[in-house]
């Protein structure tokens, strides 16, 4: 189930890389904002449905802020500048969260009665199942959108060659913010789902999880939506296996070791094709 959360964040990142060729480091920050905003609103007494919706709106709004200050101005400057600015946004979000809410781990109340289904050896909790189904549905929806709709085609054109896209009449100026918003929503939603399922949030949760999601995306293949999902599942699996066989302490080493290995041997990931990442320092 954690794999599907990784996958959603991975998809958010992948969308950004696939269409804009830009590794948006602020996405783990939006993940955190989704989760912590949900917690903060629920704590303030807002009903959970409204809280989640509000958290999504906040996520989308912040994604637009990021777009305005990273992509919009710096497309023509050195390629690394948007990457760096997005990192700065991550630091900004994390530390504003610390200033506003403190750096402690915060808990959420149990929102759903723990209804467990017993399927063979697995004990599947309903919320987790919902999370999994929901994320697969959303990702499939996104995939369909990219493949079948006009907007999807326009986005894929931008991914190929943004200047040609402009010449062809694609409204790049409006679509690019859309990409940011969609990836922001996915990231925030992942944060919300995490908050609801695992019932713990803290200002640096984006780092722990978002960075694993980046690993998932790389392993699966940058720029490829289904690759991100497979990558997420692989990372989730690697975590479970390493807890099983190596002990909980070695989880991070296993995951990042896997990432390093893939990068050195096959940087484009398992499913990635020719990658034209421009981001360079």
């Amino acid at each position: 189930m954690l794999g599907s959360i990784y996958a959603m964040v991975g998809v958010a990142l992948t969308l950004s890389i696939g269409v804009l060729k830009f590794l948006n480091f602020s996405i783990p920050g939006l993940f955190m904002v989704g989760g912590m905003a949900t917690w903060a609103l629920i704590r303030a007494g807002v009903p959970w449905l409204l809280a989640t919706a509000a958290a999504l709106v906040v996520g989308a709004a912040l994604a637009l802020v990021v777009e305005r200050f990273t992509w919009r101005w710096m497309r023509n400057a050195d390629a690394f500048v948007p990457l760096v600015s997005s990192m700065a946004f991550l630091i900004l979000f994390e530390n504003i969260a610390v200033v506003v809410w403190g750096s402690d781990l915060r808990g959420l109340p149990r929102l759903f009665a723990s209804v467990d289904w017993h399927v063979g050896y697995l004990i599947v909790s309903v919320p987790q199942l919902f999370c999994l189904v929901g994320s697969v549905a959303l990702i499939s929806g996104l995939s369909l959108l990219l493949a079948k709709t006009r907007i999807g085609r326009a986005l894929r054109t931008i991914a190929e060659d943004s200047e040609t896209a402009l010449l062809l009449g694609v409204d790049v100026k409006r679509l690019v913010p859309l990409v940011f918003v969609i990836s922001g929503l996915f990231a925030a939603l992942a944060g919300i789902l995490f908050a609801i399922n695992y019932r713990q949030v803290h200002p640096f949760m984006g780092e722990a999880l978002g960075l694993k999601a980046i690993s998932a995306m790389v392993v699966g293949g940058m720029g490829n939506v289904w690759g991100a999902i497979v990558g997420g599942l692989i990372i989730g699996l690697a975590e479970v296996l390493s807890i099983q066989f190596l002990g909980a302490d070695f989880v991070d080493i296993a995951v990042y070791g896997l990432l390093l290995l893939i990068l050195v041997i096959r940087p484009t990931g398992l499913f990635g094709g020719e990658s034209s990442m421009r981001a360079r320092a």
């Binding site: 700065a88 900004l92 070695f250 070791g257 390093l260 990068l263 360079r280 320092a281």
Partner: protein, 281 residues
């Protein structure tokens, strides 16, 4: 000098060392997000040596640097082969692996941190920082500096002009790691305590960000960036977290307005040319 001011200056000196550790690979066109990992290696190794043996701190710290250098050299060859964003991600994975590994080493305290007995005061730290600064300035005044910048600007042409691009990239990466290790050692012995949690991706990102703020086109940039990062929040008065908020916000704005950073090569060149009176009459 009051204790408080001394503390700030010690921090400034250490940040300057970290800045040059990140600057060296960046000047060659590589974004090293594993800087904190090498700093951790240097810090822990030097702390271990000074704790467990009679070796003087002045020797232990450089030894920590050398240890970091060895690890860097060992991984440099496969890692440097990756390029651009893949290199950044590979170094990021590296940093995470180092951090996770240290957390598991009970010999040096694991997650509880590692106390360091020997103490170094401001004069010591300042001397090391000055030594690092002088070293980098001298290094960049040699053909090495020109070669590094050439590799950064145009790998293909540099190669055609006879430069061994890989060798220079590996050299920059390794020397940067040694400097990071020295910074880590200074940190450990100034605060008499070292913990793996400090050497996180956030630290790497922060260091990279203040180097970019200062500007990577000249040797003075990193020091200026470190100075702004360390001193400005003191002037603005605020808690520890506000420092990061200000810094991130400033960086975002600077990247919009002046992406080449505060000190550019052109300005510096003019200053040096005037000082040298190199021109024909």
């Amino acid at each position: 000098m009051s204790g408080y001011i001394q503390g700030i200056l010690v921090l400034l000196a250490i940040n300057i060392v970290f800045a040059y550790a990140a600057f060296l690979p960046m000047a060659a066109g590589q974004l090293n997000l594993g800087v904190s990992g090498f700093a951790a290696i240097g810090g822990y190794v030097s702390a271990y040596i000074s704790n467990k043996s009679t070796v003087s701190v002045a020797v232990a710290i450089p030894l920590g640097g050398v240890a970091a250098g060895f690890i860097a050299l060992a991984v440099a060859i496969p890692v440097v082969r990756t390029r651009g964003i893949y290199l950044a991600l590979a170094t990021f994975a590296l940093g995470q692996i180092v951090q996770a590994t240290i957390l598991n080493l009970e010999e040096v305290g694991g997650a509880a941190g590692y106390p360091v007995t020997a103490f170094v005061g401001f004069p010591f730290v300042a001397a090391f920082a000055l030594a690092v600064f002088t070293f980098v300035c001298l290094l960049f005044a040699t053909r090495f500096g020109i070669a590094i910048t050439a590799v950064h600007d145009d790998e293909q042409v540099a190669d055609l002009m006879g430069l061994d691009v890989r060798a220079f990239q590996i050299a920059a990466f390794t020397i940067g790691a040694v400097v990071a290790g020295i910074g880590g050692g200074l940190y450990a012995h100034s605060f008499n305590y070292i913990e793996a949690q400090y050497f996180s991706i956030s630290l790497s990102i922060t260091i990279v960000l203040y180097v970019l703020l200062g500007g990577t086109q000249s040797v003075l940039g990193p020091a200026l960036g470190a100075a702004v990062f360390t001193l400005l929040p003191e002037l603005l008065r605020g808690g520890a977290q506000w420092r990061y908020v200000f810094f991130a916000a400033i960086l975002i704005v600077v990247m919009v307005v002046r992406p080449q950073g505060l000190v550019t090569g052109a300005q510096l060149r003019r200053l040096i040319a005037m000082a040298r009176k190199d021109r024909l009459a």
